[in-house]
Amino acid sequence: MSPLDLLVAVPLCCMAAALLLGRAARGLILLAAPLMAGLALWLALLPPDAAYLVGQWELPLGILLRADGVARLMILATALVIGAVGLHALVEPPEKPGHAAQAETFWPLVYLLWAGANAGFLTTDLFNLYVTLEMVSLAAVALAAMGSLAAALRYFMIALLGSLAYLLGVALIVARYDTVDVTLLAQLAEPDLATLMALGLMTAGLLIKAALFPMHGWLPPAHAAAPAPASALLSAIAVKLGFVILVRLWFEAFPAITGPAALQVLGGLGAAAVLYGSVQAMRQDRLKALVAYSTVAQVGYLFLAFPLVAGAIDPGDAWAGMTLQAVAHMLAKAAMFLAAGLMLKAAAGERIADLGGLAQAMPLTVTAFGLAAVSLMGLPPSGGFTAKFLLLTAAIEQGAYLYAGVLILGGLLAAVYLFGALAACFAPATTPRTPVTGGLRTAAPLALAGLAIVMGFGGTALVELSAIAAPWAGPALILPEPAP
């Protein structure tokens, strides 16, 4: 037994149990959340070279699970996010009025998402990654369908397209190298047309999953319409898997054949996403749509980091910045969606202008929203700041002033739209508000947002964690000493 396989097995078991138990499955989260959090923590504290071979098959056929820094951080964050969201959903079931059955379908999907995400973070096998990608997509589409069927369907179609593009790429890789293991590919890869086409197809497909501009079209309707806990999971976790697989592809499998120009394509799209997402977010008058577009912008930072990581002499800082941006966004965005859900429940309507009086009626929830906003804007002290700080430092050191400018401008634009929403909470109420607060409801977003802030204080530890078994530090699985 090892935490690596337990982290996948436990959620799968929970999913099965939830399917069987039906309505009674809600309580399961009380067990699963601490258990998974403990496992994730265990994983984080494992020695650097931890790996696990499922079913004792040798490498080309067996399933290797291994935990590098990125995986550890992402899994820990996933456990925290799903745990908190789950506890929140326990008292605030994600259902539309009159759709009581929805709450039943919610729980198995959560566990499916959890298992898929964890497996995806841990595995380095391109085909297994495809499977996990589909697990996550399936769960995500179903979660989105809890809000708007039409949006979910659109999401489904586009996501399916992405999956197939990825699969086609995998097929080409198999044809060319007869292996799908990332570590083996790193040694074999050659910059021929087949490999490049495979890389291009996989990248494009994954960008759909990661909702990078201009392939983000499915995200805002789906995320904005879903019930708050579902939105939180979608924005926090579902899009991150695509990102992590891209990291595996570009920095672990094919670092030798990805030229600077190709990296600039991703970086450029990332920069465009930051600006475009921010501008669109500024234009929204509904709170959840705003938060959803904020995700579009935040995803941009992740890809903006690609050329910075590749271009750095010592990529540790940029790498950590990229990873921490993903983690900080997970925590903050989940917190923000949960808080927004509570706020909209108390407000007169779903528009930002309807939020008046909430700062007075439910200060803690608004605080959670505000703290999450601080992290998303990249204001200190917060995980978002630490990440942006590292990226900005890298950008300036490399003379990448365009990216530096986008990083700065993106933060400002985020401030514009997020503070706009916050300010609306301070406006006087047009009608008396009945606050939706208390207990886990409010505690969950507050805890997540608090964690996003606390991340700002533990920068050194997080940077060291992110560097475990990082591809730039040496050959994979032959692991360096942790940084002093």
């Binding site: 007075q360 200060p363 200190p380 933060g411 400002l412 503070f419 706009g420 300010a423 940077v463 060291e464």
Partner: protein, 492 residues
């Protein structure tokens, strides 16, 4: 234990903030007690530290928050100057705020953010590295925003928006500047200024412009001053705090750090950056005064006066001469004490008698003599009339300007004094010499405890600003301390 002293100064207001947020409104007495208690404890700690610092001890606490980037809290004499000022004024503002709001809505929130502001201002003062400075500087922005928007009406929200727009833009410019510099010379510690020898002059100039531009937003340097008069929509204790201590001072303080502890006066002089900055500060001084003259709202007039006065600090710092830097530093304190007096008085007038416009001031002196007396002292100090403290600042700035071969600055000071007189003296004239309107009810100024809590802090700061002027050359006077700082660090 003593290395934790700087940390304690950060944690104490944090504790007060948590208590303020957590306690419900019906326990407001406990909240008030906690706020006052923490403020008093801080005052004691700072007094103790002052005595230690006089003996030459420097306290430092550091923590590596990112690899290669230390979070450093360092209590050098310059930090102590600002810390002492903020701690002292905060105690008074807390008393004042408790009386001012009495039983208003949203007070847990107010006092919570209020304490976060203390935290941030103290942190700004104690920052030992550029990044630490930025952290607290940004925190200050965030913590003051809810205070500016506190009332929640359209005007306040607008003010909050404008405030954020300006200050966030400023802080990213500052961040870009310091990161750029760090990418060239490594982490910047104020205690050990970086070696800039290998950096091209043009780059240094650009970085300087970025940083000063960023800091200048908070210091309300023309043309970045637009947020400050708007922020007048905030309640009086906040205005007092924004204008006298926390925000504008943080900007000015940062500029002093930039010039003296990052670039060093040698480099600044070499690059020829001092004179343009001084010119900009001079423009601000005159522009702010002229605009103040055109205002008809009392707080707005005070706000433009702040725009003008804060630039004295920048002026002093940018002139790069022993007397000028003393003048700038001492004005940091003097302006704080005098301006907080003015704002607390303005708030008391509005609170007790509903006086907001200048035209309503008629006869206020007869009805609230103590308040108006304090106001008068503050106003005369702003004009630079001796023996109020403002005179000492102007004196040092003037001599400093002459030492730096910038006699034109003296003309600026003179013009500013005249303009100050032109916009303050009519206020005093109205308050003392014109009869109050017939329909204003008579009040007893110091009838209840609440009234006394509202008015006596201002009276005390007025006395302090008199004392700081009259006893300027005592060792622990602001001037004495500023001289100590200058001699210890900047006149080498």
């Amino acid at each position: 234990m003593m290395t934790f002293a700087p940390l304690a100064l950060i944690l104490l207001p944090l504790a007060a903030a948590v208590v303020s947020f957590a306690l419900p409104e019906r326990l407001s007495a406990w909240r008030n007690a906690a706020n006052l208690g923490v403020a008093c404890v801080k005052l004691v700690v700072v007094t103790y530290l002052l005595m230690q610092a006089e003996a030459g001890l420097v306290f430092e606490w550091r923590y590596e928050f990112l690899p290669g980037h230390d979070f450093v809290l360092r209590l050098d004499p310059l930090a102590l100057l600002f810390v002492t000022l903020s701690v002292f004024l905060w105690l008074l503002t807390t008393i004042y705020a408790i009386a001012y709001f009495d039983r208003g809505p949203n007070l847990p929130r107010f006092f919570g953010f209020f304490n976060l502001c203390v935290l941030a201002a103290t942190g700004v003062a104690m920052s030992g590295t550029a990044i630490t400075f930025f952290l607290f500087y940004e925190l200050l922005t965030l913590a003051t925003w809810p205070l500016v928007a506190h009332k929640g009406d359209e005007k306040s929200l607008r003010a909050g928006r404008i405030y954020l727009t300006y200050t966030l833009a400023g802080s990213v410019a500052f961040l870009a500047g310091i990161l750029w510099l760090q990418s060239l010379v490594g982490p910047i510690e104020f205690a050990t200024p970086p070696d800039l020898a290998g950096v091209p002059a043009l780059t240094l100039t650009l970085i300087f412009i970025l940083c000063i531009g960023g800091l200048g937003v908070k210091a309300a340097i023309f043309p970045f001053h637009g947020w400050l008069p708007e922020a007048m929509a905030a309640p009086a204790p906040v205005s007092a705090l924004l204008h006298a201590v926390a925000v504008v001072k943080a900007g000015a303080f940062g500029i002093v750090r930039m010039i003296y502890d990052v670039y060093g006066i040698g480099t600044v002089a070499e690059l020829g950056l001092g004179v343009p900055l001084a010119a900009l500060a001079s423009v601000t001084i005159l522009y702010g005064s002229v605009r103040a003259l055109m205002q008809s709202d009392l707080k707005k007039r005070l706000a433009y006066s702040t725009v003008s006065q804060v630039s004295y600090i920048v002026l002093g710092a940018s002139l790069i001469g022993p007397f000028a830097v003393i003048g700038g530093l001492v004005h940091l304190v003097h302006q704080g004490i005098m301006k907080i007096t003015l704002f607390m008085c303005a708030g008391a007038l509005a609170n007790r008698m509903g006086i907001k416009a200048i035209a309503d001031l008629d006869g206020a002196g007869r009805q609230m003599p103590v308040t108006m007396a304090a106001f008068s002292v503050g106003a005369l100090g702003m004009i630079g009339m001796p023996p109020v403290a403002g005179f000492i600042s102007k004196w040092y700035l003037g001599i400093g300007a002459l030492q730096s071969d910038a006699a034109w600055v003296v003309a600026v000071l003179a013009g500013s004094s005249l303009l100050n007189a032109a916009y303050f003296l009519p206020l005093l004239y109205r308050a003392w010499l014109l009869p109050p309107p017939a329909d204003r009810p008579a009040i007893r100024e110091l009838a209840t405890t609440r009234d006394r809590m509202l008015i006596l802090p201002a009276a005390l700061t007025a006395l302090v600003s008199l004392g700081a002027g009259i006893f300027a050359s005592l060792p622990f006077s602001p001037l004495g301390w500023a001289t100590l700082i200058a001699e210890g660090g900047y006149l080498r």
